[in-house]
Symmetry: C2
Amino acid sequence: MQIDIDVLITWGGITKKVAKDTTIFFEGEEARGYYQIVSGSVRLCNENSDGKEFTQGLFFEGDSFGEPPLILSELYPCTAITMTDSVLIKLSREKFLLLMEEYPSIEKDLLKLFALRIYNKSVNIRSMMNTSPESRIMGFLSQYKKRTKGSNNNSPILIPFTRQQIANFTGLRVETVIRTLLKMSELNKVNIINRKLFY
Amino acid sequence: MQIDIDVLITWGGITKKVAKDTTIFFEGEEARGYYQIVSGSVRLCNENSDGKEFTQGLFFEGDSFGEPPLILSELYPCTAITMTDSVLIKLSREKFLLLMEEYPSIEKDLLKLFALRIYNKSVNIRSMMNTSPESRIMGFLSQYKKRTKGSNNNSPILIPFTRQQIANFTGLRVETVIRTLLKMSELNKVNIINRKLFY
DNA sequence: CGGTTCCTTGAGGATGATCAACGAGGGTGG
DNA sequence: CCACCCTCGTTGATCATCCTCAAGGAACCG
């Protein structure tokens, strides 16, 4: 989404600097407010029983996150953690609901945003479920590139994630990610220069 | 969701009887209209390159489906197929958008529906990604039961799906589903009576 | 009955996970 | 400037598990 920051502040939104790897909310907590990223990045994730982490979604500058439980008055199904030093703006649940009443266009935007999330999830779940490690990774890479560069830019971009982060997102193990990326670079599907990954 | 059927008809919705296993729309087609199930059931699915099917979602009486691409003016990411003889009601894109303008409450409902879909997807993706066959199947069963019976009913219900359908939904193979269900029934996590599955 | 669909079982193979090291690079403090 | 540490990347060997392939059995329906 992206509500204008001035509007958020006018309505009582509070900005906050947050260090890397800070937890914003925990899985199982009640949804307390609307969060939007002024700068930085956030991941939503679950911790598996065996301590392995699975990343459900990535969010960057301008993105909001954690709205569905807020609207449903549900508990958060994920934990939110900053991936870099970030500045977030938070608006309390009550104020957010008032704001939506006041500006129906926000509701419309949110509807489109949700539609897009469902749509993207559907596209991605396809590459993630039960298919080869390669197509899982490709799904992740193309999704990231699409979001970053817009739809059709063919020049490779640097993928700013560690192998471990890619593993967490694809549900694979680090070693598998490494070996698969190696194969993919041999086939020129990705480039690896100095251990940096380009796609 | 669930828009009142009389309202849909008043606005130009057309009901249609459809036999089992009929394709309502194909993956890659433009979204042409709003669909709601009067009776029967529908699945959204993808066909893998190797001919294997993956089921993305199940929809039953009263449910609408395929709205996100409609709102985004996108192509359908899935194919929709009836799972039983069904009666569907369809409203053209233009009329649906007009209807939404006229009744803001529909927009609100849709927003909540989308929020719920995202929320449920998030809960489920957790049990589906990279975990054991058992937890995948459990995820499927509990989701189905929750939708059918409401939240907390402990009495087992008949699961009206074939092993193959469960396999398509969980991304497993039929044989794995069968063997896993057998193990689960030995542990009393499910009941199998006369090849019928209860949970 | 005969056909169709679904369920079941067994054997074998492929592949990703696991475990255990080690290497490379970047930052920090002495 | 060097030694150390810490994170991240990499490699190899072994293992567990799910998929694959093949065959047959049970239930249902005309």
